[in-house]
């Protein structure tokens, strides 16, 4: 479904952030991108989101050649992908409910639709009782849940998260991971960059490791269902 073909990105200062990456991601997969700080994880994600263009190589997303998408069609393309930020990026003056509604309003959706859908995602991320809270009244983990709810509200085919647990403690991170697993189980492709080894050990999936912009490992192991402890 997603295909990187010999992709390189050289930044303006001649820094080679990713080099000759070839990577195939199937629909419904759960993919971790790991690697040290500076390895090129975010760069890879930015390439996929068409925030930046590769210096060389092509990127396919289903029927689209991402590198050839015209500026005016980028918005349309991004609607197919939900994005979760490390720093949540909630609008501070909007409540939880309004933050999610905002994402719907920007794209489509009658008020009726919005009223129907929001409670469903809120319960999915376990925030049904916090709809009227403002972001600064929530913990980091809760804010990240809102951000996830916002990313999935428009039912994207793919969810991309760049270190979604980077600011959270281990316990909270595990809870957030559970939500991502849930989302993946419903058929959504999930791509997540992280350097939190702990998460991957808990929840083995396909893991692509980058080092200095190159793929040095691409392994696939069992799923979370096999996880020994907790539920």
């Amino acid at each position: 479904m997603i295909e990187f073909n010999n992709v390189s990105k050289i930044y303006k200062n001649d820094f080679v952030a990713v080099e000759d990456i070839s990577l195939k991601i199937e629909a419904g997969e759960f993919l971790f991108i790991v690697g040290k700080s500076g390895a090129g994880k975010s760069t890879l994600i930015k390439l996929l989101l068409k925030e930046i263009n590769p210096t060389e190589g092509t990127i396919r997303y289903k029927e689209l050649d991402v590198t050839k998408i015209k500026k005016r069609n980028v918005a349309e393309y991004r609607r197919r992908i939900g994005f979760v930020f490390q720093d949540y990026r909630l609008l501070p003056k909007l409540t939880v409910y309004e933050n999610i509604a905002f994402a719907m309003e920007m794209i489509c959706c009658s008020s009726k639709n919005i009223r129907r859908e929001i409670p469903i995602v809120l319960s999915m991320v376990g925030l049904s009782d916090k709809a009227k809270y403002y972001p600064d009244e929530l913990s980091g983990g809760e804010q990240q849940r809102v951000s996830i709810a916002r990313a999935i509200i428009n039912k994207p085919e793919t969810i991309i998260a760049d270190e979604p647990t980077g600011n959270l403690d281990i316990e909270t991170s595990a809870e957030i991971m559970k939500i991502f697993n849930e989302i993946n189980k419903r058929g959504t492709t999930v791509i997540m960059a992280t350097h939190d080894r702990e998460l991957i050990n808990r929840c083995n999936r396909r893991v692509v490791e980058l080092k200095s912009g190159r793929i040095i490992k691409d392994i696939k192991v069992g799923g979370c269902e096999d996880e020994p402890k907790e539920d």
């Binding site: 989101l49 980028v74 994005f83 990026r89 994402a103 309003e105 920007m106 008020s111």
Partner: protein, 301 residues
């Protein structure tokens, strides 16, 4: 473009305007300044052209002012001689008394000012009607050579001067307006830039979500348009107010002296509709251009 989207875009636009009102006022001021100067130049050029045009109609007449102390028989002889010059169609005569009465009539209420005159200062005047304007130079030369002729006045020079002045004002105006346009586009784009930066987080988020361009750009474009419209109306109000203020000021004491001119003057009220259309077009144009420039720079959309 549905109602909800429209509502959102306008709400954001006005929110932005309010939050960034100081720069907004500067933008409105700069747009208004451009337009006022444009209006001013338009009025001047139009009026000079109009005066030139009206004057042109009396083009084929030459006024010959007769010296003081020439008696009636001499005057009769002069009239006859003038009539025989080549290119002259007819010769009319206005006595100095007639000229004074006419002036009194023109001055209307203020004519009492003329009553104080001990002596009629106006000359006896021949009006020499030409067969064709092309004889003007020849005839003027010959008329000047006659004894008893104090002055020969032909309007061509005046008309040409007016046309040259109008041209000059036009050219100068075009440059002045171009420069001012650039300045106001710059000011507006800076205003919008500040709004864009104020809302960068939100806009970035919108871009990640994949919000349609209308949602992202709409509020800024509306912001630019609103600034343009307010600037335009401000300019129109100031022009009307200014024009009428000076008209009333002039029509007080001095209008009598200008009464000849007054009938030529194109009032701002006469071209109001055109002015509004021109101003709104330019004002809105500046607004949109300013928005687009900062969006291009800061949003890469």
């Amino acid at each position: 473009m549905n109602l909800k989207k429209t509502k959102y875009i306008f709400k954001q636009a006005f929110k932005n305007l309010w939050r960034n009102r100081v720069m907004g006022l500067a933008s409105i001021g700069s747009i208004a300044a451009v337009l006022i100067i444009l209006g001013f130049i338009l009025l001047i050029v139009l009026n000079i052209n109009n005066v030139a045009l009206v004057t042109k109609e009396t083009f084929d007449q030459i006024a010959v002012y007769v010296e003081e102390g020439i008696d009636e028989s001499q005057i009769a002889q002069m009239g006859k001689d003038f009539g025989e010059l080549e290119g002259v169609l007819a010769v009319g005569f206005e006595t100095k008394e007639y000229a004074l009465n006419k002036m009194k009539e023109d001055w209307g209420e203020d004519s009492y000012l003329l009553d104080g005159l001990r002596k009629n200062p106006l000359p006896n005047t021949f009006i020499v009607q030409l067969k064709d304007v092309s004889y003007a130079d020849d005839v003027t030369e010959k008329l000047k050579a006659f004894d008893g002729v104090e002055e020969v006045s032909f309007y061509e020079d005046a008309v040409n001067t007016l046309i040259v002045i109008a041209d000059f004002v036009k050219k100068l105006g075009v440059w002045l307006i171009l420069i001012l346009l650039l300045i106001s586009v710059f000011i507006i784009s800076n205003t919008i830039k500040i709004t864009v930066l104020n809302r960068r987080k939100e806009i970035e988020l919108m871009q990640y979500i994949g919000a349609t361009n209308g949602y992202v750009r709409g509020p800024f474009i509306i912001e630019g348009i609103v600034l343009g419209v307010i600037g335009s109306f401000l300019a129109i109000s100031i022009l009307i107010f200014g024009f009428n203020y000076f008209s009333t000021l002039l029509s007080g004491r001095y209008i009598a002296l200008l009464s000849g001119l007054a009938s030529y003057i194109i009032s701002v009220n006469l071209i109001l509709k055109d002015l509004i259309i021109i101003f709104l077009t330019i004002g809105i144009g500046i607004g949109i251009l300013g928005s687009l420039i900062s969006l291009k720079k800061f949003l890469s959309v």
